[in-house]
Amino acid sequence: MSKVTYRQADGSANTIEVPVGWSLMEAAMQNSIEGIPAECGGGCACATCHVYIDEGDMSKLPDLSDMEGDMLECVAAERLPGSRLSCQIRMTDELGDLTVTIPSEQF
């Protein structure tokens, strides 16, 4: 199973195994990783599951949908090149291990 490391804004980190098919947001919730409120539960409707993908992992991810791109315009923390909504990134066999950083604010 692929491992995803969630780094908090303060530098602390947790690494968890993420089953294929799960989103990075769902895996974070089910493992009590703080900082991803994900109020809409993965509906791409609230922009509160923002994460920064590590530069080295960015090319592995599928492209942004228009919807995700639009929602990212509205995130609370600064939008950076690695910004994604963790509810829209599903683990696949091909994706492999990832590292993401959770921004300090989601609202």
């Binding site: 089910q30 409707a45 315009e73 509205c74």
Partner: protein, 406 residues
């Protein structure tokens, strides 16, 4: 705060949010979450969307795993009904006789479905969606049927219509009013959605009320006020919800088709707060007293309720927002848009992406967006920070995000 016992009644989204907010704010006393379902708090929105379709498994619906409750010292008392609140003794009596003392109490009891009460409804095994078990039961039943009648053209009914069409069923929607989602969206949006469902081969019957249902040989017959009848295999009803305010009412708390709370989510008892679907409050954006059934209201009121329990002064002033997924259309609503006198459209209604802005007395009161999330988010930001006129919105239509930040 050590020595304090905070009790939260109701294990839905508002309940878990109250608990999490209390712990995040440093509350160190005893914290008990009483829920009448026998499972940990889970998300309800997917129950009529991705979960019903079979895209999401049960485990992924939970807000937090068991270990979170242990780590945060939140004691879940699941499968437990509350019988009564004794406000003078500051106790809560549970089914089975146990009594809990509380220092502060939070009511997050939610709402329950309104049941179809026409002739024959009791024999027709009508399906509703409120709980996980409801959605599982419907999902299982759908696997073996072809013809689905949906009663109620609101969010839940229409989401179920979209899911059941995706599953290849023959779907009929009955709405008693003359347009879909009439309580929450404008006539333009209602028409957009009736067109959308008809394009997806749903039979949409407006202004049609169910007089009677009959069951014979596994077929359900529906008879309407327009002397129409329909044979179907299953009825799903989404005809509204009723606040679970009975224990509050019996305890003498002020209720008005919901537990009345002020802008600090305080009930008429200074030691009892309430949040979410079970409450009614004066909403500054609606300009009237409302009962909101939404994730936003549950989460934001819960945060304020937790703050109030800890003696904080935070007030509830968040912009209401809602969303619904039907086929490829994501509807996002900002504000309460029922009482407008003018509107402005960005894009063309009927296109795959557009927004409608609503104004009252030349002030922006909200917007409905179809597949236009950046507009939705900008409107929420604008409404939270300033008053915007129709001229201002029109002048800034191409860059609302910058206008929101000004």
């Amino acid at each position: 705060m050590t020595g304090d016992v905070f009790v939260v009644i109701g294990g839905g989204q508002a309940g878990i949010q109250v608990c999490n907010s209390l712990r995040n704010s440093g509350f160190s006393g005893q914290l008990i979450l009483v829920g009448d379902e026998d499972i940990l708090p889970y998300q309800r929105p997917p129950l009529s969307k991705s979960f019903l379709l079979g895209d999401v498994d049960e485990q992924r619906l939970f807000f937090r795993p068991q270990s979170h409750f242990e780590k945060q010292s939140i004691e879940p008392l699941l499968g437990t009904k509350v019988i009564a609140i004794d406000r003078s003794a500051k106790t809560v009596r549970l089914e089975g006789g146990r009594t809990l003392n509380y220092t502060k109490l939070a009511l997050t009891t939610g709402a329950r479905v309104r049941e179809l009460d026409c002739e024959g409804a009791a024999n027709a095994q009508v399906h509703y969606i409120r709980s996980l078990n409801d959605s599982i039961a419907l999902r299982n039943k759908l696997a073996g049927v072809e013809r689905v009648a949906i009663i109620g053209g609101g969010f839940v009914g229409l989401e179920v219509a979209a899911v059941t069409r995706k599953l290849g069923k023959a779907v009929t929607v009955y709405e008693a009013e003359d347009r879909l989602m009439g309580r929450v969206v404008s006539p333009m949006l209602s028409e957009f959605f009736s067109d959308l469902h008809r394009e997806n081969d749903v039979s949409v019957c407006l202004g049609e009320r169910i007089d009677k249902v009959e069951v014979s040989n596994n077929t359900v017959q529906i008879y309407t006020n327009k002397q129409q009848s329909l044979d179907c295999d299953i009825i799903v009803a989404g005809i509204g919800a009723i606040a679970n305010d009975e224990i509050a009412l019996e305890a003498g708390l002020r209720c008005d088709r919901g537990i009345v709370v002020d802008n600090r989510c305080l009930t008429s008892d200074p030691n009892i707060v309430a949040a979410g679907d079970c409450t009614v409050h004066f909403n500054q954006f609606a300009g009237k007293t409302v009962r909101l059934e939404s994730v936003q209201n549950a989460v934001d009121q819960a945060k304020i309720a937790a703050s109030t329990m800890l003696g904080g002064e935070s007030v509830y002033e968040q912009v209401p927002w809602f969303w619904s997924d039907q086929y490829d259309a994501k509807l996002q609503i900002a504000g309460i848009n029922t009482d407008y006198d003018k509107y402005l459209t960005a894009g063309r209604v009927g296109d795959s992406r557009f927004s409608i802005f609503y104004f009252k007395d030349d002030r922006l009161i909200g917007a409905d967006s179809i597949n236009d999330p950046s507009c939705h988010m900008a409107v929420r930001k604008i409404m939270a920070t300033k008053s915007a006129s129709m001229t201002q919105i029109q002048a800034n239509l191409n860059d609302l995000k910058s206008f929101a930040k000004q």
